[in-house]
Each structure stands twice: as C-alpha cells, then as structure tokens.
C-alpha cells in the first residue's frame, strides 16, 4: 500500500483514477489545483469543477484539498502563452502546465508532503521494463491518447507516477463512474484551453493583454493580396482567412512575420519541407537519434522521420510545423521524448 495523491480536476477521468487507486488498496488523498483566477467556462476560478472534485472525494470517502498555484500558473503558463503569441509562435499551454505545474510543482509537493506516489487521470500508460526503467506509452483508447502532452516526463517523474485509466477506454471510464455512482459520470469532457472561454475566445483573451497588429497578406511573389486583423493570431498552415480576393485555389499561411506585420500565403505544396529544426528536447530516458515516429499535434498522425542533431528529416516531405508547437518522438507506441518546433 502506498500513500497516493491524486490530482483531480473535477472531471470523470480523474474521478475514476482516484476510485481505482483506492480500489487497489492505497491510501488516497484528492487534490485540486486552483490555477486560473479569472473567468472560465465553469465560472470564476472554475469553482464548480473544484466542487465536483470535492463531492467525488466525499463519495469516495477520501480527503480533498485545494492547492492554490494560480500565481505560478500565471507565471509559467498564461504569461508565456501570451508572449509566445505576441512573438508569432503557436504555444501549447496544456503542455507548459504539465511541465511546470502538475509534474514539477505538484510532483515536488507530493514528495514534500510525504506521499509515495502521484496519480492523474491522463489517458496514457506507464510501462516499467525489466531493467527498472519506465516509459510512457499511448493509452489503450488511442482516440483519447494524451501521451503527446506528457512528453516531458523523465525517469524521475515517471518513477512515482500512476496513470490508472490508461488501460481503459473512455466508455469503460464512464461505465465505471456510473457503476460507482460518481456524480461526474456523465460530465462532458473539458475542451480546449481552460483559461479561455468559449464565449469570448482566444482573440478576445489576447486582445486584452497584448496589442494585436493588423497585417498585410502577400503571396510568394511578394504581391499584396489581402489583409488580416491580427498577425499574432495566424498560424503557419492556416487556411481560414487566407483566401485572396478573386482567388479560387486554397491558400495557406506559409510564413508569419510579426515584426513586419506580414503573412505570406501560398499553395499547399509551398508548405512542404524535407526537414525541420527542433529545440529544447527532453528525453524519457536518454537522448535518441535515428528512425522515429514524429507527432506534431495533440491528435495528429505520427509520421516517419529520422532524428539527428536537433533536426527532423522527414521520410516524405511534410507541411511546415508552426514554431512553438510541440514535436514528440515515438518508437511504436512508446514516447522517446520531444521538443519544440523552431
């Protein structure tokens, strides 16, 4: 029996994760992180989610605590998200939250408070090899797989982490929640970025925090063919809003130049590249090179490539990846590590 802290968001996945850890005979305490102090889809400070987590803990008869990490969330997630956009990058705040909040601050607190293990409701699996090393693998339910957003987990983090629902499909998770009479059994999955509301959206969020720059749209010959409201909001590969007057072919953003307020559009083939540089790579065990599968978005299709000296050489030309996006390396279903497109 271990002493386990379960990170509970108030959703069905982490509710069932807590129930499963309890069923395995561990001493379990539920913890909800208060991260975003502003407006959210579930009310100010996401209070109703905290309440759901608290009530699930009551149902499971385990203690529940709320940890306020909102300052750290602002510093490590929200502010960098805003400044990345200001620099024309495409940030993934969920990954930064995992990196800095859940698997750093909380991981640290788990140990400081005398717990043996941390469990979360992520859809991914941790597999321990005969030599004692651990690796992160895709969830059984590949449509819900979250291994991409967990690529930063190293041996130290994996060693005390449990992902109890990684072996279940989403349907099985909900069935279990129903069977256990948990109030979150039918709660809809959370969507998108927790600090951006559906009602106001990303543009409004950024507009309140940074000046958005109207920009011109040019084609590959340099001819001006249109305009955009905010260059900071354009992502490489984006098609929406890129149609040119009178043009019939689909156009894609192939370059975003924030300092010069210019977006270059082109044909799909203009996006294709043979290789891409990556930076800030972290590894599950040790640095890897050679043949890998590469995934460049949360539910993107893994593509074959060769990894060498912080460069990804595609087996077949691929569309450019927006700078700032996470690039995750797999071998089969196993996460080797990842970095950031640059």
């Amino acid at each position: 029996m271990s002493k386990v802290m379960v990170a509970m968001s108030g959703g069905v996945d982490s509710s069932v994760a807590a129930a499963l850890m309890l069923e395995q005979g561990h001493e379990v305490v539920g913890v909800t992180l208060r991260l975003w102090g502003g407006e959210s889809d579930s009310g100010c400070c996401a209070i109703s989610d905290v309440d759901d987590a608290r009530r699930v803990c009551d149902e499971l008869k385990i203690d529940h605590h709320v940890f306020n990490m909102s300052d750290e969330f602002d510093n490590h997630v929200v502010n960098p998200y805003v400044s990345s956009h200001a620099a024309g990058l495409t940030p993934n705040p969920c990954i930064e939250c995992n990196r800095h909040i859940k698997f750093d601050l909380l991981h640290h607190r788990v140990q400081a408070l005398g717990f043996d293990r941390l469990a979360t409701g992520h859809h991914a699996r941790i597999i321990t090899q005969p030599d004692g090393t651990h690796y992160l693998a895709r969830a059984i339910d590949t449509s819900k797989d979250q291994s991409y957003v967990l690529y930063m987990l190293d041996q130290k983090k994996l060693a005390i982490l449990d992902l109890p629902i990684g072996d279940l499909t989403k349907e099985q998770v909900r069935d279990l929640a129903t069977k256990l009479n948990l109030r979150t059994a039918t709660k809809p999955d959370s969507q998108d970025v927790c600090f951006i509301t559906r009602e106001h959206g990303r543009n409004d969020f950024l507009r309140k925090r940074i000046p958005l720059t109207p920009g011109r749209v040019i084609d590959t010959t340099g001819a001006e063919v249109g305009s955009v409201e905010a260059v900071e909001m354009v992502t490489i590969g984006q098609r929406k809003g890129m149609a040119t007057a009178g043009g019939t072919d689909p156009r894609y953003a192939i370059d975003v130049d924030v300092p010069n307020a210019t977006v270059t559009v082109g044909k799909p083939e203009d996006l294709l590249v043979d290789s891409m540089p990556v930076k800030d790579c972290v590894w599950a065990n040790q640095p890897t090179s050679g043949s890998v599968l590469v995934q460049i978005s949360a539910h993107g299709k893994p593509m074959e490539a060769t990894l060498k000296d912080n460069n990804v050489y595609w087996a077949e030309p691929q569309r450019r990846v927006a700078p700032g996006q996470a690039v995750v390396f797999y071998s089969d279903n196993k996460v080797l590590g990842g970095g950031m497109a640059c």
Binding site: T32, R34, C44, C45, A46, I47, V50, R54, H65, V66, F67, N68, S70, D71, H108, R109, Q111, A112, L113, G114
Partner: protein, 377 residues
Amino acid sequence: MTYLDHAASTPTRPEVVEAMMPWFTQHPGNPSGAHQQAREARRAVDEARDAVAALVGADSSEVVFTSGGTEADNLAIDGVLRSKGGTPICSATEHPAVLEPVRDSGGIVVPTDEAGQISLEALAETLNSIDNISLISAMTANNETGVINPITDIAELLEERFPSTYLHTDAVQATAWMDLAKYCEGAHLISITGHKFGGPKGAGALIIKKGVPFLATQRGGGQERERRSGTQNVPAIVGLGKAAQIMMSEREILSARVTDLRNQLEEKLIALIPDTFRTLPAESNRTPQIAHLCFKDVESESLLFLLEQEGIAASAASSCASGAQQVSHVLQAMGIDYEKASGSIRLSLGWTTTEEEINHALNVIPQAVTQLREYSK
C-alpha cells in the same frame, strides 16, 4: 483534534446550545405576531438585544440583528450611504465585507502602516482633501493578525474636526477580547457576530447609534425597527444573547489565560524553529488570540496540510470561494513581501484552547517545518 482556528469560528458554548434548544423544539412563534407564542419569541429576542447592547455599551433600541458579520458590515456602509450619500473610506486591511461595498460605492481605500493599522495622519489628510466623506470604516481588531486600530483616536478626530463624518467599526474579531463598551464608545456603527465568541453561526448585529442617518437595504416587513426586514432567527439570536452574557462575565479571565498560552506558543516556536518571524512588529497593540508567524522557505499551504495530518486545524491567509488559500491582502497591505507572506500561518486560540493543544502544536509544527525545508527548492 487541536483546534487553532478560533478566528475562523469558535466552538459554540454548551450553555448557548442549551439556551437555543427550546426555540427550536418548543416555541414556534414569529416575533412579529400578536399571540402568546409570538410574544414569547419577541421577549426572547429583546432579552438577547439587551445582552448585546450591554456588551457593546449601546442602548437596546440601537441593536439591529443580522445574519452575521458580513451582513452587518454591508448594511453599515450601504445603509448610511443610502441615507446620506457621500463617499466612504476604509483602510486596505479591512475584511472584504467592508472593502467590497466601499469599492462598489466609489469609496477610497487608504494605505496602512507596517502593522496594518490605519494611519491617523493619512486619514486626516484624506478627510481634508476630499469633500463629502460621509463614512469611515475601521475595524476594531484585524481578523488575520489581531492588530488593533485606534478607534478612540479616530472618533476624537472626527468629533473635533469632521463632525459630519460617521465612524463604523467592524468589531467581529474583537468582541471576545476587548471591552467594546469602552473601546468603541465613539463609533457610530459597530458590527459583531456570534460565532466568533462562542455563539452560533448565522446571528450577528449591527449597532446603529441614535441620530445616525440610515436607510434599510433589505426591505420587507419592517422588522428590526425598519432597519432590517426579515423574520428574526430566534434560536440563533437567543444563542447570540447568551454568548454575549457569558463574554461579559468571562472576558477578562479568558483574555489573560489566552494571552499567556498564545505567548508561550509564539515564543517557543520562534525559539525552536530557525528563520521564524512574527508577522506583526513585536510591540504592536493586538488582541490575545492570534499567533501569526512567517516561516522562511515554507509554503503555508503545505504546512497546513501536514498540520492537518497530525490533527491540527489552523489557517493561512484568507480562503477563497474554491477553498484554496490565497496570499493575504492584509499582509500585502502591510508591505510584507510575497516570499514571506506565502510562508505565514495564523494560529488562533479561544475559549476551548488547552495547554495540551499548545504542546501538541509545539511538537508538530517544528517537525513539519523541518520536513518541508528539506524539500524546499
């Protein structure tokens, strides 16, 4: 369980519970009614009114029962403004129940000194420079640190130089420890609540001295002499009255006992744990029940977690609606830096606190701080 969170809420005294019980089980009357049962309820409420009036040095007719401290504070500010208009002032260390209505009505929040006390100079300056300040709200004792505001001095300042400005004081945290009849004599409005001094939750009072311009905010049947409508919470008001009576006879002895226990706790923790600081300057004038300490390189949230595991209930700053601890606006207003503030806890004592509880805390807290410091980054 070692309960060191009396400033959040005190255990209800058994005599209070006993006094309340018949008003749940035997007497159904509504005090506004005309029959025998109603008159009984009315009498019980008025006896409680007498007890509260005696406790704060007011006339019974000046006591308006409310649902608690927050309602009393809101009512004091909104009630005076509705009648008289003008601008309210408070200091940055007030309870949100005062800060929010002051801000909402376009009021002025003045800074405090490093102990969190309102500065008389800043107050006089604001009163001199801004016309039509109708109300000042200054808490008797702070809910986080226990620091005491110079209510008598403020009252004198107003009487001498600004006679058309009224003074409200939130005495919620002071009631168990200070002679309000004497200390708050010059205040025109006083808020108290039962559950901070052995009474039940859900019953408080606003004292509105005669002649203070006032218009009710909660309207309806005109109970409480048209100053607060709504059927009185008879059992809770009876409990509040009983608690007030007990305070009258026990306050001095209790204060002496708790001061002694608090000083032991504070001094020993400072001696036992390196890098431990008093949040308030040592010579501050403060109530006896609160030990507020900062532990370097410790997060208060983690410390409270470990204390709870060892059976000690305490708190850090204020809790937000989600239940998370947040860095205190009081400590911020005192100019305490973030690092220090985020490692502070409030240990608050009360009428049930025993020497065993203090010894328990003295055993557990040093160990917990050591454990957290081993892991601190």
